[in-house]
Amino acid sequence: MKINKEEIAYIAKLAKLSFTEDELLKFTKEFEDIINHFANIDKENLDDIDINSFENFESVLRKDEVKVFKDKKELFRNAKSMRETYVEIPKIIE
């Protein structure tokens, strides 16, 4: 299958990544090689396999209990920008 640069640019947009023109070209080529290799799965007969049937599977549930994380400072130490107890980000709604 042929993959073009525009397609890669669209996927990048979905993945929230941006590429330079050179990177896009390089990526398109690599991508095509890899995706074409994936096509070998097409030779398999998978008609009678149902991915929505489950045997011997049990749901795992636990009580939804509130636990207080003692050290709030520890919890927020990785945030780059804080205002009081809120993580700060650029304005979303004008």
């Binding site: 290799h37 070998n40 799965i41 398999e44 990785n78 980000i89 650029p90």
Partner: protein, 491 residues
């Protein structure tokens, strides 16, 4: 006895007999790391002070005649995608360069409970994506057997640390072979446990339905000791084992392989397998037969399509798991942005390396509208077929044997510009993850150029005991584990 050659068993004996203190032991390892890791490049963070303090506490316990635990005083290296409270956990990525987890992973808690002394965090491919540890943002780790070669990956730092005698045990993680392949490349023993046997709580996610933490050690017995310490149900991981687990992996480990039926997929020996590796595996098959195992070739034609299914599923899961890195609550945040969208795009573009971007792109592609049925759904179907193929195989055989990697450790830089070629080298390991099975890689010989060759044994779900027993028998028969790399040092 040189400390760096000591096994966990020997360390425990040495501490028990008071021939050495835990502080001396840990100090000796740290000195060795300081002296030689400049060549190897295994460590990202060394926990010198903390490790020596922990060792002192073990010595106090020994003084008082208290139990020090199954890993009492034993130095451990941790792959840098496993969270440790208050210790930088980077995933070898710029994205998490200064990330300090506010909690311990369950395996870290368990190691501490077992008395282990955590000596530091080790290098890996960024977000565990890669087979050579060349994708680390920070540095390249070298293979201790030949410093011009890669140590394998993604747990390359873990395997190199054990091979170089920096720690007798290290933890790695395995999504498609990331424990077993570096273990093979570095001449060490690496176990990928059954999916669910070891808690993933605190393991930074790559492919959540595939990831599993496991030990890398010098010997099979040490591997058994390591597994016992970290396994078991964890309420913090709903995919962790719900039933009782094996309580002793050592009590029957010396019972041999007599009567074991071992299947060898003939597809493992087809095109692409290095001749020397093929010969070493066949020699091991003969040895196993000589010890009373029944070794038989059979057909398990799942490799090629399995590799595709693996890369589709793991990339799909990665693209979803890595969506959390947006620069908001933790991790890297771009310095320069005008609005929220730009904050996210710039953060991700600047924070992720090439291979990680490639996987996110692949995953996004196979999950995107119009391609979901063609790739992801097909891969999920094939995953079921693989599981069925293994189920049928294990009705006939106790274990499945083959090579861990089709190729010998390659030269640093050799494959970095050809991602597909790098992916193809994972052909013998990825299907095990798709089926959630346990598998162990152990050294079975050396190439003419003195590079280690790894043999892989695959077991049915939760049959680690059998797996370790067979691996131990073969290890004793081959005697390969007694060799260590010289690193240019006098013996």
């Amino acid at each position: 006895m040189k400390i760096h050659k000591m096994t966990i068993e020997e360390i425990k004996q040495g501490l028990e007999d008071k021939k050495i203190t835990a502080e001396e032991l840990v100090g000796t390892y740290i000195n060795r790391i300081k002296k030689l890791d400049g060549k190897v490049g295994a460590f990202l963070t060394l926990q010198e002070e903390e490790a020596l303090n922990a060792a002192q506490k073990i010595d106090e316990k020994i003084q008082k005649g208290l139990d020090i635990g199954p890993l009492g005083g034993v130095p451990v290296a941790i792959k840098d995608n496993i969270c440790m409270k208050g210790v930088k956990t980077t995933c070898a990525s710029k994205m998490l360069e200064d990330f300090i987890p506010p909690y311990d992973a369950t395996v870290i808690e368990k190691l501490k409970d077992a008395g282990a002394v955590i000596i530091g965090k080790v290098n890996m491919d960024e977000f565990a994506m890669g087979s050579s540890t060349e994708n680390s943002y920070f540095k390249k780790t070298k293979n201790p057997w030949d410093l011009s070669k890669v140590p394998g990956g993604s747990s390359g730092g873990s395997a190199a640390s054990v091979a170089a005698g920096f720690t007798p045990i290290a933890l790695g993680s395995d999504t498609g072979g990331s424990i077993r392949q570096p273990a093979a490349f570095c001449g060490t023993v690496g176990l990928k446990p059954t999916y669910g046997l070891v808690s993933r709580y605190g393991l930074i996610a790559f492919g959540s339905s595939l990831d599993q933490i496991g030990p890398i050690t010098k010997t099979v017995k040490d591997c058994a000791v390591g597994l016992l310490a970290i396994q078991g149900h964890d309420p913090m991981d709903s995919t962790s084992v719900q039933h009782e687990v094996e309580k002793d992996y050592l009590d029957e480990i010396e019972k041999g392989v007599k009567g074991f039926k071992i299947g060898v997929p003939k597809e493992f020996f087809m095109e692409g397998l290095d001749k020397e590796i093929g010969r070493a595996i066949r020699k091991s098959m003969e040895r196993l037969e000589g010890m009373g195992a029944e070794v038989e070739e059979f057909s398990l034609p799942i490799e090629d399509s399995g590799l595709s299914a693996y890369y589709i599923i793991s990339s799909a899961e990665a693209s979803s798991n890595l969506a959390r890195y947006d620069g908001v609550r933790y991790g890297y945040r771009s310095k320069d942005f005008d609005d929220f969208e730009e904050l996210i795009v710039k953060t991700r573009t600047e924070g992720f390396g090439n291979e990680v971007k490639r996987r996110i792109m692949l995953g996004t592609y196979v999950l995107s509208s119009g391609y979901y049925d063609a790739y992801y759904k097909k891969a999920m179907k094939y995953r079921k077929k693989i599981q069925k193929s293994y189920r049928e195989a294990f009705e006939k055989y106790d274990l499945i044997l083959g090579p861990t990697s089709p190729i010998l450790p390659f030269t640093v830089g050799e494959k970095i510009n050809n991602p597909l070629e790098m992916y193809l080298a994972d052909i013998y390991t990825v299907n095990v993850n798709l089926a959630g099975l346990p598998a162990i890689s152990m050294p079975c010989g050396f190439s003419n150029t003195k590079l280690p060759i790894g043999l892989q044994l695959i077991g049915d779900h939760f049959t680690e005991k059998k797996l370790l027993r067979a691996a131990y028998a073969l290890e004793q028969e081959l005697g390969v584990c007694n060799e260590v790399p010289s690193l240019g040092e006098e013996e």
